[in-house]
Amino acid sequence: MAAVTQKSGGDRVLRVINVALLSLLGLVCLLPFVHMAAKSLSGRAAVSAGRVAFWPIDWTLSTYRYVLQDDLFWRTFQNSAFITIVGTLLALTITTMAAYPLSKPGFKGRKVILLLYVFSMLFYGGMISVYILMRALNLLNTLWCQIIPLVLSQYNLFIMKTFFEGLPEAIEESARIDGAGPARTLVSIVLPLSLPSLATIALFYAVAYWNGYYHAMIFVTRADAKPLQLYLYEMITTTQNLYELDPAQAAGLSSSGIQAAAIVVSSIPILIVYPFLQKYFVHGLTIGSVKG
């Protein structure tokens, strides 16, 4: 492309417009977060009056103190942490195990298994069916009923399968000649080569678990089994409705300041991890999700 870079005037105008539009887009994505962070750090009067824009007014950490002292916040935070860590590890293991054989053309039964995965991706049995399953298994109101539904995503499975298919056959061949068995080859040759793809799907699973609320809305009614997202959801909807009765008001805090603090705290784990993993998914990912 560098060979055809033009330096005409019209081109320069286009380039400036392009950069300006992209910057605007970036700002539109960023500013709502900045606004929430500013609100969470501002004093009550400024928040209630709606004076806070993108910089805190009357700095305070009292909203964070309030959120972090809430027992239910910690309980649900721990639930989400457990669901995310255990779920991601399980999902990563199961997905890799399932994807590896599917990448081998010589694997008899491959077609049938692929068909099962594709069909299960396209035909949804409905929420009542899975509710009955979880109830019959006595898993309602547990953390497991929030882990199981997302433990294998067909999209991630296909990303891994495509990645394995792209590994040169010669690598595994030479390991075999050196006397390594198939299990040994997988663990000490294939998996280390797959780290970028594994990191990518680990991020996708972790995000799905951490951000998950849908299955909890179906399977969980007891407060102590709820994930952080449902705690947030209830906080957001009830403080809007019961503004006057809000205990936070009595504590001298504004409910929207507290909401902002809770939102910031719950988003921080992802916002910290994601930029570090960006370099992996920008490359490897999409070649797997769309078959050429």
Partner: protein
């Protein structure tokens, strides 16, 4: 006869000795897909039964002993005004999102592709992918705050003398709020697919176009767009295939009773009917309708894509 059989058996034995690992590795995934995805399909019988949770000692027994009622639930559904409202809302919201939001990731990818300054490109990507990683609950919280009566947006509108709007309770404005927040969350992330497709375009085509005197815009029009057209078509057909979903996960979090008239979709209604009112049979019947139509749509869209562009999802 004897010898061919035993020879076949030794060949099978040799195959299994060499490939046993593949079968062992497949087991957990199969347990999941059969146990969690296929087995529950047994529950679809409730669409043709009159389910009573107290019919048996446990929920499975209740399911099996509830009496068959044929197509009664479907007749009730298709005869109700609710159903047509839900279908209209679902299709309207899906089409609004499709028409407004579908081109944006393509434009974003084309724009990012023209940027020559790597650090700027990287930072922009980090920023515009970010909302994809944020949950709907958090996004709902952010927009509820920004759009509330004395939120930042209404302050700006007031300052510009445009008057306040209550986006969360106005049935028409709320639909646009759904479209906007969906676009805010996924437009940047959606560009990744097209960026990947762009890297596959033959560079010689650009050079040839340049030699022919084509400017930047003409090169995009005559080289870039045709180059990614198959991916664009595939994405479009996938969207059409999922048209009955309408992004219900988002709506389930963001809507409220004041906007049921325009924003209640099939899945949100199923949720309230099935788990709110415990009317399992109606909810299952409506869900089965959606699943069947969705399945037929996606399979035919994929078929069209395969025939027309040689690209398919499976």
């Amino acid at each position: 006869m004897q010898t061919t059989l035993s020879r076949r058996r030794t060949r099978l034995g040799a195959y299994l000795r060499a490939n046993w690992l593949y079968y062992a590795l497949s087991v957990p995934g199969l347990v999941y897909v059969i146990g969690y995805k296929l087995l529950p399909l047994v529950g679809l019988q409730l669409a043709f039964k009159d389910f009573s949770i107290f019919a048996g000692d446990n929920i499975l027994e209740s399911m099996f002993v509830s009496p068959w009622v044929g197509m009664q639930h479907f007749e009730k559904i298709f005869g109700s005004a609710d159903f047509w409202r839900l279908l209209r809302n679902t299709l309207t919201i899906s089409l609004m999102k499709l028409v407004v939001l579908f081109p944006i990731p393509i434009l974003v990818a084309l724009m990012l592709n023209e940027v020559r300054c790597r650090p700027f490109q990287r930072v922009t990507q980090t920023l515009i992918y970010m909302p994809h990683f944020i949950s709907w609950v958090v996004i709902h919280g952010i927009f509820l705050t920004m759009l509330s009566a004395n939120g930042i947006l209404n302050r700006v509108l007031e300052a510009l003398d445009l008057g306040k709007t209550s986006f969360y309770t106005d049935p028409i404005a709320f639909r646009w709020l759904l479209v906007f927040t969906e676009g805010w969350k996924e437009s940047g992330w959606g560009a990744i697919v097209y960026l990947a497709a762009l890297t596959g375009i033959d560079q010689e085509l650009y050079e040839a176009a340049y030699v022919d005197g084509a400017g930047r815009l003409r090169r995009i029009w005559h080289v870039t767009l045709p180059g990614i057209a198959p991916v664009i078509s595939l994405m479009l057909l996938l969207r059409l295939g999922g048209i009955l979903e309408a992004g219900y996960g988002q709506i389930l979090i963001m809507y409220n009773p004041t906007v049921y008239s325009t924003a209640d979709v099939l899945q949100t209604y199923i949720y309230r009917t099935g788990l709110g009112k415990l009317d399992f049979s109606s909810a299952t019947a409506l869900g089965l309708f959606e699943s069947l139509v969705g399945f037929v749509l996606i399979v035919s869209c994929n078929g069209v894509s395969r025939k027309a562009f040689g690209r398919s999802l499976w």
